[in-house]
């Protein structure tokens, strides 16, 4: 048995060696993202132990910090802001999924269905463009659009006799601004994956449908949408896995004390506690909490997706 196992091992490694020699460029190509994931996603796992320690300073290292068990987690969940952080984080994550995902699908279908090549390219480019702007630039654009004093939107509201709205500091308007500005910025980029899926649909299906007299809406309903449904489910599952990632950069740029009650998310709180207060243990505990809940949600949603539909991630 032992000899057999050793033989199998030898065969495995020699096959792998030969394969690497033959396909070295492919392996080099794969190595780049693998190294990235290893260094930036797996190595930090070792440091998640900070969440269980009274970590004072990187200077003295982690191993010299005392274990405190679940104290940091306890402090996080009993903090005054815990429930509002959870609520706001989920509100933005779910809100963005509910708004951005359908809009991305609609945009993808619209681009796919568009028969004017030039128009399609212009729309595609314009839709992708905001994705490449940082939130710092987006803040400037949003400020010039929504500023209460001289923003374009408020100028229009005033022109039509309305009262200006301070979108950036009004707790009712702020969440909508966050969700829709994110949709505007990312909708075009998110649509790419759906456009790719649409490109894979067998054209003969459309031809047959047209011969049978199906109109555009019926073609979308009975061919296009079912064809990209597995991709939509996959994207949805992936988003559920990162449901506690509500968009730090965006909120950080846009929020101010006047809207903390509806704007402060786990990540902004972690930023203030960890980086600004130097309480790395507490910040790591909050980050770990976020990751574990996200992972559980991903497993659960994958299970239910597998149970009730044909699509799942694993």
């Amino acid at each position: 048995m032992g000899e057999k196992g050793s033989l199998q091992n030898k065969t495995y490694w020699s096959t792998l060696r030969k394969d690497i020699a033959r396909q070295k460029w492919i392996y080099i190509l794969i190595a780049v993202p693998l190294i990235y994931y290893f260094v930036f996603k797996y190595v930090p796992l070792w440091y998640s132990q900070i969440a269980f320690r009274d970590f004072k300073s990187v200077r003295y290292g982690i191993l010299s910090s005392d274990w405190v068990g679940l104290e940091n987690f306890k402090e996080f969940v009993t903090s005054h802001y815990f429930w509002s952080l959870i609520r706001n984080t989920l509100m933005y994550s779910i809100g963005k999924i509910l708004v951005s995902l359908p809009l991305s699908v609609i945009l993808a279908i619209a681009i796919y269905e568009c028969r004017h090549n030039k128009l399609r390219k212009v729309v595609q480019t314009l839709a992708y463009l905001p994705h490449f702007l940082s939130w710092v630039i987006m803040y400037g654009i949003l400020l010039s659009l929504f500023a209460p004093g001289d923003g374009i939107i408020n100028d229009l509201i005033k022109f039509f006799g309305g009262q200006p709205i301070d979108f950036l500091t009004n707790s009712k308007a702020f969440p909508w601004l966050v969700i829709f500005s994110d949709a505007w910025k990312e909708m075009g980029w998110s649509a790419i994956i759906f456009i790719a899926a649409l490109m894979g649909i067998d054209v003969s299906l459309f031809e047959a449908a047209m011969v049978e007299g199906a109109n555009s809406w019926q073609r979308v309903k009975y061919i296009t949408f079912p064809a990209i449904k597995p991709v939509i489910v996959t994207v949805l599952l992936l988003k559920i896995g990162t449901i506690f990632e509500a968009g730090f950069n965006q909120i950080f740029m846009l929020y101010s004390p006047a809207v903390y009650s509806v704007a402060d998310i786990i990540d902004t709180w972690v930023y203030r506690q960890g980086l600004l207060e130097g309480r790395f243990g507490l910040a790591t505990a909050a980050g770990l909490f976020k990751g574990i809940i996200g992972m559980l949600l991903l497993f659960a949603s994958n299970y239910f997706s597998k149970k009730f539909s044909d699509s799942s991630l694993f």
Partner: protein, 521 residues
């Protein structure tokens, strides 16, 4: 078996790589060339121009002293500076020598990341004589040991309440002296077309949120209004009424006045969204007529030029802050404005502290002082008949576009009090458009002559925890924005919650600290 082997290898790699990547590169050893390498982060004199050039002659002089200096500029805003320093601390990547605000310094010192410099003052006799009096040393002292060098970073009392005199004249109004009069002027500036352009495009008051350790939310730009109620600054330092200003009944009266200002629409409504640059662009565009501004930002040649171009007949007048209902007034709390130069603990462990002190001392007098403050004689400056360094006309002059980069370390040299420094820094000039003769020094003297509240040490008081600070800011902002109705009951509920989050303990800690340091008056 394979899985187990794989997991074992992965674990070993994680630990190994973890040490390599997350440990950072804390190599603080001397250079191979025998020189002591010092990495330094400084706050630039002029953030609008480039960093200290590589051909700065000081680098060569320092090399002769055995120092290889690597100087990098910190970001321009204080918030970004704090973020950069704290991010470096989190990664154990602090430079050898750097400048920090006190709030950041407290955290770094408490985390053991700063060198104990108590015994290093004697290595810098000139600088110590000029800058490090007992107050300055106390500013950086924890449990009897000093963890940084507190140096002056600004001219004290260099801000003031200013008003558009041309708008007052256009509307036939007098300079307001009370809060009610100030409100009336704000109202007229908003609704009576003070610039005469026929548009409803001006506001009375302009501001933005600018907090410091001693000027809590809504911050510095509102201090003249808070001063009318006696609640300027975070703390009240009077012996018989010590405490957090927010606990005083007069703070509620200030809130009522602010609400009146906001509801009447006489403050530029962008005040909650403005950053410093937006605010400064706004007054240069003539959007509002009353504000608290800094002398140099208001009237130094480069800063005033856009306003002068837009409004040749415009004029800002420095006025006394208005009297409130109890006859009180103040521009705000006056502190010394110290910033802290820190030596990282790693640098001290690597034996660099003495060389850092040698360099710092060199910058405080004679050759180093002149070089950091004004550049090279004959290239960047010359002396006038009174012995005052004046800029040489042209790009290389210390106020020229290139010359300015050579004085980026000025804040390491200046003590901000000597007449020579002030006369040189704020020369008299003639405005290009209006032909007016101006000087930021005249504005400074005017501002310093107004009513300020003594607040020595207020910038070294204990700081609140994050949740408490957040709740403090959030609560006030919500009252201002109307998310919470400002009533005595709601205000009391807010204060009660603030206390539940630790405000009372913060106040008690502050009291003990202020008494121990003899700050109360």
């Amino acid at each position: 078996m394979k899985t187990r082997k794989f997991l074992a290898i992965l674990l070993v790699l994680l630990i190994g790589f973890g040490q390599v990547f997350a440990g950072g590169s804390s190599d603080k050893k001397a250079s191979d060339n025998g020189l002591t390498h010092i990495e330094m982060w400084y706050n630039a004199t002029q953030t609008e121009v480039g960093p200290l050039p590589n051909d700065w002659v000081g680098y060569d002089i320092l090399k002769d002293m055995g120092i290889e200096l690597e100087a990098s500029s910190l970001p321009s805003s204080t918030v970004d500076q704090d973020t950069k320093v704290q991010a470096a601390a989190a990664a154990n990547e602090l430079p050898d020598f750097f400048v920090a605000n006190r709030e950041v310094w407290v955290r770094l010192a408490n985390n053991g990341m700063l060198a104990d410099v108590t015994d290093l003052y004697e290595l810098m006799p000139e600088r110590t004589a000029i800058m490090f009096d007992q107050d300055a040393i106390n500013f950086t002292t924890i449990d009897g040991r000093s963890y940084g060098f507190a140096t002056p970073s600004i001219v004290t009392k260099n801000e003031g309440l200013v008003i558009r005199k041309d708008w007052l004249d256009n509307l036939g109004l007098e300079v307001p002296t009370t809060l009610d009069e100030l409100f009336d002027v704000m109202y007229a500036f908003t609704y009576n077309d003070p610039d005469g352009n026929g548009k409803n495009d001006t506001w009375g008051y302009g501001a933005f949120i600018e907090e410091t350790t001693y000027e809590s939310y809504p911050g510095r730009r509102f201090e003249p209004l808070m001063g009318a109620f006696g609640v300027e600054g975070t703390w009240n330092f009077s012996k018989d009424n010590f405490g957090l200003q927010i606990h005083k009944p007069e703070f509620y009266d200030f809130m009522v006045f602010m609400k009146k200002v906001i509801d009447a629409g006489v403050i530029d409504p962008n005040w909650m969204a403005y950053k410093k640059d937006d605010f400064r662009a706004a007054w240069k565009q003539g959007k509002f007529g009353i504000m608290r501004e800094q002398n140099s930002a208001l009237s130094s040649q480069n800063n005033y030029a856009p306003f002068d171009a837009n409004f040749p007949d415009g004029e800002w007048l420095v006025i006394e802050p208005p009297y409130g209902p109890n006859g009180l007034r103040s521009v705000g709390p006056a502190v010394r404005g110290l910033r802290i130069w820190c030596i990282s603990a790693d640098a001290a462990d690597a034996g660099k502290a003495e060389k850092i002190c040698e360099m710092f001392e060199w910058m405080a007098h004679d050759e180093g002082y002149l070089l950091c403050g004004w550049g090279q004689e004959g290239i960047n400056y010359t002396f006038d008949e009174n012995g005052i360094p004046v800029s040489i006309p042209g790009d290389m002059g210390f106020d020229g576009p290139i010359g300015q980069t050579y004085i980026q370390l000025r804040s390491m040299a200046f003590n901000y009090t000597s007449e020579t420094e002030l006369l040189s820094r704020y020369p008299v000039y003639t405005c290009e458009n209006s032909g007016k003769e101006m000087s930021a020094l005249w504005t400074l003297r005017d501002m310093q002559s107004k009513t300020w509240t003594p607040a020595n040490g207020m910038d070294s008081m204990p700081i609140p925890g994050n949740d408490l600070k957040t709740y403090y800011q959030q609560g006030l902002a919500e009252f201002f924005a109307g998310a919470r109705e400002l009533t005595p009951e709601n205000w009391q509920a807010f204060i009660d919650q603030l206390d539940a989050l630790g405000a009372t303990e913060w106040e008690q800690e502050g009291y003990e600290y202020a008494v121990a340091n003899n700050y109360l008056y």
